[in-house]
């Protein structure tokens, strides 16, 4: 059983944290990852910094810029994954990347290095199903899960196509837009989770916009098996640049608060409203 399968079999829901490798610096990034896992991230998404992250909002884009300015290379990303793997042998780690990083390195080499560093999955944010044959054989050869993405605009037929060769878990994009904190999640979320749930046995995790305990509550009530929080955590790194102690304390507090959403009222206002409004 893979680490990802084992996690979802053991825990429901799971909390997934996101960080950009090399943010705020190459060495400091390991501290961030460690703190996130120790504070309660059940699974960690580690992003390879990229010069043109078009799926990301301003907060995460600035993190890519900080990491690249710090000189982070793809080699550094794998080195970080290896260190995190040693620190947390059971925690699933997923590499989040834009496709050119893989294309430039060569897919075979990239997936070999990903596997060797201890990554369990790779999520390629700009590689839709139409183009995925460029990486599929290499992911399979090296035993790395390819995390599929489904958006609210994905048609039911595309959902089926995407799910056909997905593995690990499915990343549901909660909203139409880039990553970033929002005041509220869109009302159609429960419908999206339900529609995808009918088509796959894989665990479903919801990301984009999830930034508050009540959002976590909404996602769990919608029937998802996990939540993914990125911008809200990345923003803490930015805010506490230059004061690592405050940064780590901030991450610990935020993750504890967000995880608190798991235990709260399972029928949040938004769902209740949704049901009333039909």
């Amino acid at each position: 059983m893979s680490r990802i399968e084992a996690l979802f079999a053991r825990k429901n829901p799971v909390f997934i944290g996101f960080t950009v490798a090399g943010d705020p610096g190459i060495e400091a990034s390991f501290g961030v990852a460690k703190t996130m896992i120790d504070a309660g991230a059940d699974l960690l998404e580690i992003a390879a910094p990229y010069s043109d992250p078009v799926a990301d909002g301003p907060v995460i884009e600035r993190a890519h810029v900080r990491a690249l300015r710090a000189g982070t290379t793809t080699g550094d990303v794998f080195a970080l994954v290896r260190r995190v793997r040693e620190h947390a042998p059971a925690t699933p780690l997923v590499l989040f990347t834009y496709h050119n990083i893989i294309h430039r390195r060569g897919a075979d080499r990239f997936f070999a290095e990903a596997a060797a560093s201890g990554a369990d999955g790779v999520l390629i944010v700009d590689l839709p199903a139409e183009e995925s044959d460029e990486v599929a054989p290499y992911a399979a050869r090296h035993g790395v899960d390819r995390i599929a993405l489904i958006a609210p605009t994905t048609s039911p037929e595309r959902q089926r196509t995407i799910l056909k060769d997905a593995s690990g878990f499915v990343y549901l994009i909660s909203l139409e837009g880039v990553t970033g904190e929002r005041d509220r999640l869109p009302p159609g979320l429960a419908g999206l989770v339900g529609a995808v749930r009918e088509k796959t046995d894989l665990p479903l995790a919801v990301g984009f916009g999830v930034s508050r305990p009540e959002h976590v509550r909404t996602v769990v009530a919608a029937g998802a098996n996990g939540v993914i929080v990125g911008s809200a955590l990345v923003r803490l790194i930015e805010e506490h640049a230059g004061d690592e102690a405050a940064m780590h304390a901030g991450l610990r507090t935020a993750i504890a608060a967000l995880r608190g959403g798991f235990a709260l009222d399972p029928e949040p206002d938004m769902l209740r409203r949704e049901r009333v409004e039909g």
Binding site: P53, G57, T74, H103, D126, L127, E130, E131, T154, E176
Partner: protein, 390 residues
């Protein structure tokens, strides 16, 4: 071959959220291509509103100087002052067909932004234009023109603050407003079906030029030259000549020289990579990060190029050369003085190559240069570069 491919190049490397819009766009395009009503409306706008066909001007003075027969395809005389309107009218009409209520665009030199603002005003669609902060300063006149035309210009302060970042910002906007917004992409770049749509709308340039030169000279030219940033004016004039025995030359921004690292010559000095939705040539480092680019011409200041050009380079059908900022500035002045035509700095790159290539041509050889736009927008910038002295 997968759809939307030019050899190995092209494709659709975009976030999943965009896929539904690309599929819708492709379906709409297939429909309107066959729709006589659409063609009729587009032809009307191109003829009665935009001013097609544009002349193919014989340049007597330059021909005498260079020792070959030089013609300019005068896209500078199109309404708005550049070839861009061919594409924006076509796509804005498509947006209407799709029921989209808003147009967004990105612009480098400002010409595409102006052309989108014009098309939006003509067709009654609100327009928002993303523009790198650096470019809003270099092209202040065009910012004013866009605003005058009713468009909102949004300066982009991220990354290198130029065209590439404006494209990223426009893509983000599109991801967030996918249902009611059409992203009016300005060059033959980006994910399928954009490169094909833009090429088809721009091919009117080459179709006219081919017919005009046959009427005038009774034969095809020896050489056709066009500047290449994203490559839309070049693919527009090249495409109808691709199966002819005509030398086609695309001219990239050599900036301060290819060895300086400060240039925008992705075909001459780049390598194969995925960027902004397509596989093409890209100026990138060993890890696949896009490199900073430089050109005196804002419209050529871009690290990648349309995928069809990548294929044409590999096959050898089109030759791609680079000219430096200094050569382009020289050509800018020379065409102004010899023919009374001030070219856009982008187009001046094509003129500069023509000056170089003329050495290899005979007196009766015909050379067609695509004058993709006029230089009014660049006059203040060039004056600043030269301390006010042209």
């Amino acid at each position: 071959m997968k759809p939307g491919r030019y050899g190995i190049y092209g494709g659709q490397y975009v976030p999943e959220t965009l896929m539904s819009a690309l599929i819708e766009l492709e379906e709409t395009y297939e429909r309107v291509r066959e729709d006589p009503g659409f063609s009729r409306r587009l032809s009307w706008y191109l003829r009665e509103y935009a001013g097609r066909e544009t002349p193919l001007t014989y340049c007597g003075n330059l021909s005498r100087d260079l020792g070959c027969r030089v013609y300019l395809k005068r896209e500078d005389l199109l309404h708005g002052g550049a070839h861009k309107l061919n594409n924006t009218l076509g796509q804005a009409l498509m947006a209407k067909f799709m029921g989209k209520r808003r147009l967004i665009a990105e612009t480098g030199a400002g010409q595409h932004g102006v052309a989108t603002a014009i098309a939006g005003a003509a067709l009654g669609l609100p327009v928002e234009v993303y523009m790198g902060e650096v470019d809003t300063r270099r092209q202040a006149l065009n910012v004013f023109r866009m605003e005058l035309l009713g468009a909102r210009v949004i300066p982009v302060a991220s990354g290198t603050r130029t065209l590439k970042d404006a494209i990223n910002a426009a893509m983000r906007d599109w991801v967030a407003n996918i249902r009611d917004t059409h992203y009016l992409l300005g060059s033959c770049v980006g994910p399928h079906p954009f490169p094909r749509i833009v090429r088809d709308f721009q091919s009117v340039i080459g179709e006219e030029a081919r017919r005009q030169i046959l009427e005038r000279e009774g034969r095809l030219p020896e050489m056709v030259v066009a500047c290449v940033g994203g490559g839309s004016n070049a693919i527009g004039i090249f495409y109808p000549f691709v199966n002819d025995d005509v030398r086609l030359v695309g001219v990239e921004a050599g900036g301060e020289g290819l060895d300086s690292g400060r240039h925008g010559a992705s075909l001459s000095a780049g390598s194969v990579g995925v960027f902004q939705g397509a596989l093409s040539y890209l100026l990138q480092d060993d890890d696949g990060q896009a490199l900073e680019t430089h050109s005196v011409a804002a419209g050529l200041d871009h690290p990648s190029v349309g995928p069809e050009h990548a294929m044409l380079k590999d096959s050898g059908r089109v030759r791609y050369e680079a000219v430096t900022d200094a050569e382009a500035l020289h050509a800018f002045r020379r065409l102004s003085r010899t023919e009374g035509i001030i070219p856009a700095l982008e187009s001046a790159h094509a003129v500069a190559y023509a000056l170089r290539a003329a050495d290899d041509l005979d007196k009766d050889d015909i050379l067609v240069v695509n004058l993709s736009g006029r230089g009014d927008k660049d006059v203040a910038d060039v004056a600043n570069l030269h301390g006010g002295v042209a």
